[in-house]
Every structure is written in C-alpha cells, then in structure tokens.
C-alpha cells in the first residue's frame, strides 16, 4: 500500500498528491512515469512523474479528473492509501547541454510533467525558456515552481484571464521569431494531445526539433501488451517502453488520437456506473 502524504487541490478537477514510494523515488528520472491502481477493482492508470524527493522517498503526481478512475482518485485524501504504485517506467528524457536556449512548453495539466524535465535541462547548464498555459487563470498551477525550474518563464491563458491572452503556440511563435529558429536546438512540449499536435505543426514549419511526451492507453506499462502502440516515422513503437517521448514530427497524430478514444463509450459507462451508486450525486464518494 502506498500512502498519500499530502493533497493539494489546484482546481475542482486538477489535484496534486505527494505519495510515499521510496523505491520509485530512489531511481526515477525526469520524463518517466508511474502506474497506479487505486484498489482491487481498479484499472492501471499511467501518470507522468511531476516531482520526486529521493531523501523523503516521495513522488509527486498531478492529475486531471477526466474519467471514473481519476475522479475516484481525486476524491482520496491525505492519509489514504493507494493499492499499487509502480515505476519508474518508460525511458528518461534525454538531457544534455545544448548549444542555445531550449524551450519547454507545458499546457494544462502538462505543466506538471514538464517541470522535472525543465529543471534537469537547467541543471545540465542550459538556458531554459519555459512557456506554460491554461484555459484560464484558475486552471494554472506551479507558476512559482516553473519559474524556479526555468531560466525564464512565459505565462499565457486561452481566455486572457491571467497575464495575457493566447495559446502556448502563440507565445512559442514569438519566442522562435525573437531568438531565431536556427538558434533553438530543441522544443519539448507536454500537454493535451491537440496542444502537442499544434506545437508540432508550428515547429515543423520552422524545421525545429521537437519532442513530445505521449499519453497513450496502457495496461501493464512494461512492453507486454502493446496497447500503447503508436506509429512513429512509419514504425510501430510502444509508448511505455520506447517512449513516452518521441520526435513530434514523426508521430502519427491521427492514429494516436483514434487509439486514445477506443474506450470512450466504456469510459462514459464507467462514469455513470460510478455516479449512480448512491443516487445522491456524491460522485461515488460514499
């Protein structure tokens, strides 16, 4: 059993847990993920590691409630325990000292997984330009943490309710124009699929190397089932063991999007089943 030590609520649907998981904390690196299972009936949920503390033996995860399982997870409190927690999984981010500023982009809940990568890149001696964005100011979190992890940080909101109006791609475009595409060795983007795809489309115009961290459907997360397969450059890759990071310009986004929606109906059904248990609109909390 894995104990939730701290819980923080960033918005009604975005929450942060600090979880006691010493084995994972000891060896994890930026860019890797974990899989957790709430209880005996639970599904295996992959989540990218947002932070870790090797001394305290803790892993931080930030997640958005999108379906039954993440909603149920969000209803858990500090002191509760999670049945299973396994990791670190996937390949770590490739960290090196690049020649020129690197740009990391975090959209929505993607700000969390981008954070340790930005920090590692900065620790490796890079000038890290961070861009974070959310639909509105209320959904934005970790601005302070990101400011620390990056050399400079640019913030935007889709509706302009905080700092400025615009998508992360608008800001990215300005950054590319300002620094010159030939001077930026790498863009790394994590966020909802449409956002990553938009970043990919933009940087493709500039022929700018771009890495994205994919969130495919998974079961075991160790290369055993192939549920997470995605075509990258015409070759089938497993997100769980070959990724989760890939060259954005080689990813077959259409296929990825379709495969990600395979269980949409079932997800809806699970949510309804979950909510109807007590009939009081408790969302299954009772």
């Amino acid at each position: 059993m894995y104990k939730i030590l701290e819980k923080e609520v960033f918005s009604p649907i975005i929450k942060q847990f600090v979880i006691e998981a010493p084995k994972v904390a000891k060896s994890c690196k930026a860019g890797q993920f974990i899989i957790l299972r709430i209880n005996e009936e639970g599904e295996r949920i992959p989540l990218t590691i947002a932070d870790y503390d090797r001394e305290k033996g803790t892993i931080t995860i930030v997640f958005q409630e999108v379906g039954k399982s993440t909603t149920q997870l969000g209803q858990m409190e500090a002191g509760d325990t999670i049945k299973d927690f396994v990791g670190p999984l996937g390949e770590p981010s490739h960290i090196e000292k690049f020649d020129g500023p690197v740009v990391v982009v975090g959209g929505g809940v993607g700000v969390a997984p981008v954070h340790p990568i930005a920090r590692s890149l900065k620790e490796a001696g890079n000038h890290v330009i961070g861009i974070i964005g959310a639909r509105n100011g209320d959904l934005l979190f970790w601005e302070g943490k990101m400011r620390e992890a990056c050399s400079e940080l640019l913030v935007t909101t889709d509706d302009g309710s905080y700092v400025r109006k615009g998508f992360v791609t608008d800001v990215l475009k300005e950054v590319i124009e300002k620094h010159g595409k030939e001077n930026i060795p790498l863009v790394l983007a994590i966020g909802p699929q449409p956002m990553m795809r938009a970043v990919s489309n933009l940087t493709k115009e500039y022929d700018l190397k771009t890495i994205v961290s994919l969130n495919a459907l998974m079961v075991d997360g160790t290369g055993m089932c192939g549920c997470c397969r995605v075509s990258v450059g015409g070759t089938t890759k497993f997100v769980c063991v070959d990724g989760p990071e890939f060259d954005a310009h080689a990813v077959d986004w259409l296929e990825l999007g379709r495969r990600g929606g395979i269980f949409r109906q079932e997800e809806q059904q699970a949510m309804e089943h979950h909510q109807c248990k007590c009939g009081s609109g408790c969302g299954g909390a009772k």
Binding site: K23, V24, K26, S27, R37, E41, G42, E43, R44, K68, S69, K83, D84, F85, V86, G87, P88, L89, V219, D220, T222, G223, M224, C225, G226, C227, R229, V230, S231, T236, V241, L254, E255, R258, R259, G261, I262, F263, Q265, E266, E267, Q269, A270, H273, H274
Partner: protein, 471 residues
C-alpha cells in the same frame, strides 16, 4: 510356478472422462470448464495404473514427479500421502494438473497407452492438489537458514518453482514481480475458465508460507538492475525468469487500427484486470460482433474462447496451415470447437481494413495450400496466387507468438543474448554468461509450456544451490 500365476487384472480401456460444463453453457461464462474427478472416480482411475517398475511416465515429466508411487497412494485412498509425494517434485500441482500437455509428456509414455488410453495422470494430479487446497495445505519442511540471499526476477512458473526449491533448501528468497500480483502468465495469460486465479493464488500463498518474499510492483530493469541487486542489494545469486512478454505483430498494414489487440492485451485485460466484470471492475474491453484470432496455438485458442465468453457472436481462428498442424493442444482445439469457435484454415490476412474512424471492418485474406515439409517438419504453407478475399470482422486479436521482454536482458551487463533477444543459458544448469546469474523458462527458450518453464526453474535452483554452497 505356473499354477501360481496371478489372475490377469481386468483393465478399463478408456480413461474416466473428465466431468465438464456443457459446452454451450460454458461458452458464455468464465467458470472453470473441467470440473474435476470425484473421490470414487479418481480411485477408479488410479487403479488403472499398472505400477510398472520402469516408471516410463516419469521420463516424460520435466520435473520428474514420482508418478506411479503417488498414483498407488491415490488408489489406496491416501490423498494426503499422494499430494505429499507429488510435492516432493512439483511446487505447483494444482496448476500442472490443469495446464500441462500430459498427452505429450507423462501420459505419452504410459505403458497402458500402448494398447489402451493411458492413465489420466494429469487428472489424478489435479484431484490431489485440489483435495489438499480444500483440506488445508501442509507447508513442507524448510532446511535451516544458510544466510544466502537469492533474487528471482519474475513470478511466473519458472520463478515460482525456482523460489520454492531454494526456499526449501534454506536460502532467503525474494521474488520481484512487475505486475501488481504474482503468477506471471498464470495470472495474465491463461484464462480463468482454464485455470482459476484463486488456484494460482493458493499456490503462491504456499510459497509465502515457505518464507519466500514476493515484491509485486517491482520492475527489475527499471527501479533497479540485476547488477545493482548483486552489488548493493546483497543478493548472492539471481534467477531471471521474465518469460516471453513481448507480443509479436504481423507487420501488415492496418494493424494499429482500433479493434486490433495483441493476444497479450486481450487476455491481460480479461484475466488480470477482470474486464469481463466491467463496470464493476474498472478495466474495459471492447469487442465487436465478429472476432478473428490470428494464430493456431494455445494462446489463440484461449483468446478465441475468451471472445465468445465476452459476448462475441462469432469467434474465428484464422490460421495459415491446416487443422493437423495447429500448434495448440488437441484438447484445447477440441474445447474451442465444441464451444462454437470457427476455423478459417489455410488462410492468412495480408491487410486489416478499417473505416473512416479507424475501426476495423475486415481483413483482406489470402488462401494457402500445403507444400513440402519445412525445417520444423510441418508442411510449409504456400500462398495461392489470386486467392485474396475479404473477411468481414470487427475485432482482430493477434496471437502469433511472443518474444522475450527486453527490460532485463537490455539492462544487465555482460549477459549473452541470442539474435532474438533470448538469454543464453546452459540447459543443464541454467547458468548464463554472467557469474551468479541464472535464467530459465520462456526468456531462454522462447514461448513454451508452463511445465517446461518449471523444469528450467528446478534445474536452475539445483545449480544455484550448488553455486551458493561452493561460494
């Protein structure tokens, strides 16, 4: 002397049939198909055994279970004695009694089998194991602690057998399992209706009773490596039994369409994650009306039979050779057929067709005929030119085999591998190219049977014991 000749024992020519659920009924539920012998039947079956001195049946058993002597005890009604005798050699009798291919092993060599049907050795073994599970399991004796520590990577049949043997010899054994439950393929692969998961967990509990520690949620190759286990973890030896957990695909166009599963995914969702209980269990599985399973092995049969139970209207085995060459056990193919699985033989898909939303709608297949025997001794399938046709299906399960999972081989320094990525290990000892590291089961041989993996686990346990004794 001649007048003292014993009267000739009258022998029943056929095995006592295994009581089973009605095919049409069982095809729609996940309860175990074979129901097991009664006490009267098992004694009757045991009495068919000739008790030959040469014990030919034992040479067919990869773990050399003392077959005639346990059967003799069964015939005498001493079930406790019989199971104790079995467990001298076999740590997982309830599993083996269910999933071993006895017809190719012990029963193949049964003397009775030369003239009649062989003794139902597997069925008798299963009875004894189930009898013990129902009457309380006795933990075998454990030798005094040696102070040596052994890490077992993977808790499938090879790892569990190796762990049990080493624990009995007094070594401190820790098993590392990547998934959230121990058992490996016995949990994620073999379906509930063939091997109830409660039976597997009862056997795993027996191991814990021996003092074996089982660390689930522990992916060796990720949170630690084999080298670290030996250098920092204080382990004196390591056994790698990580199995064949890398699904092969056909590499044909359309294989990443929605509705195409690997058999591993299809079975893992259903068995390990209990998708058949969705939405009471959270993991879903989505199935169309007509399912095609590609391949003809036991895993393919399991997938095709699972598809029926999940509610498919039609479940098809699509295999490029003929019925005779099906690699599956005869019994499995028969069970599948009885339940209504259909066979498209001498057929193989060349492309998977999907609709505009990316969902499977059919397969472009080509017909085959059998040519000359190939290296495997089976007649080689040859594609018939111009025979392409469309097979309408909406779910495809690819069950054409698995390779070794690369996580451990790739992260272990100095481990010799084959071209396919299997670990090279001495079949006599299980020793790898790396001192102190042993391996066995599917990660060495490629996908094979539970009992062969158990045999390899046993062999390695003996060598590890010897290695530790000389260390």
């Amino acid at each position: 002397m001649t007048d003292e000749k014993k009267p000739k024992k009258e022998i029943k020519p056929t095995k006592n049939p295994m009581p089973a659920q009605d095919p049409m009924e069982r095809a729609r539920n996940f309860n175990e198909v074979a129901l097991g012998y009664s006490e009267a039947t098992v004694i009757d079956e045991a009495k068919r055994c000739l008790q030959c001195k040469k014990e030919p049946c034992r040479q067919g058993c990869p773990v050399e279970v003392e077959i005639p002597s346990f059967i003799k005890l069964v015939a005498e009604g001493d079930f406790a004695g019989a199971i104790a005798r079995i467990k001298n050699k076999n740590a997982l009798p309830a599993v083996c009694g269910r999933v071993c291919p006895q017809e190719a092993q012990c029963e193949k060599y049964c003397t009775l089998g030369k003239k009649y049907e062989p003794v139902g050795i597997g069925r008798i073994e299963r009875f004894c194991a189930d009898w013990e599970l129902a009457h309380g399991v006795k933990t075998p004796e454990v030798a005094p602690a040696t102070g040596k520590k052994v890490a077992i990577v993977g808790s499938g049949p090879a790892g569990l057998t190796c762990a049990a043997d080493l624990a009995k010899k007094g070594h401190k054994v820790t098993v590392f399992e990547a998934l959230h439950v121990a058992g490996g393929v016995l949990m994620y692969g073999i379906p509930e209706f063939r091997l109830p998961k409660a039976v597997v967990q009862a056997e795993v509990q027996n191991l814990r009773n021996l003092g074996v520690e089982i660390d689930v949620n522990s992916v060796v190759g990720k949170f630690t490596t084999v080298d670290e286990l030996m250098e920092d973890g204080g382990f004196d030896a390591v056994f790698i039994g990580t199995g064949a957990g890398l699904p092969y695909f056909m590499n044909i166009p359309g294989e990443n369409s929605c509705g195409v599963y690997s058999a591993n995914e299809f079975l893992t969702r259903t068995n390990l994650m209990k998708a058949y209980k969705f939405p009471d269990c959270d993991t879903p599985i989505k199935l169309g009306r007509k399912v095609a399973v590609l391949g003809g092995g036991n895993v393919a049969m399991d997938a095709a039979r699972t598809a029926l139970r999940l509610g498919a209207e039609e479940s098809w085995i699509v295999y490029r050779r003929s019925h005779e060459e099906l690699p599956a056990r005869k019994e499995e193919a028969e069970h599948a057929e009885e339940e209504g699985v259909k066979f498209a033989l001498l057929t193989s898909p060349v492309e998977i067709i999907s609709n505009e939303d990316g969902w499977v709608t059919g397969m472009k297949c080509i017909k085959y005929e059998l040519g000359e025997p190939d290296a495997s001794g089976r007649r080689r399938p040859v594609a018939i030119e111009g025979s392409e046709y469309l097979m309408e299906v909406d779910t495809v399960v690819v069950a054409i085999g698995q390779g070794p999972n690369p996580l451990v081989p790739r992260t272990t320094k100095g481990l010799e591998l084959t071209k396919k990525g299997n670990i090279v290990a001495d079949p006599e000892t299980g020793a790898t190219s790396k001192p102190g590291v042993f391996a066995g089961g599917d990660v060495v041989t490629g996908a094979a049977t539970v009992i062969l993996a158990m045999g390899a686990g046993r062999t390695a346990a003996n060598s590890i014991h010897e290695y530790l004794s000389n260390k």
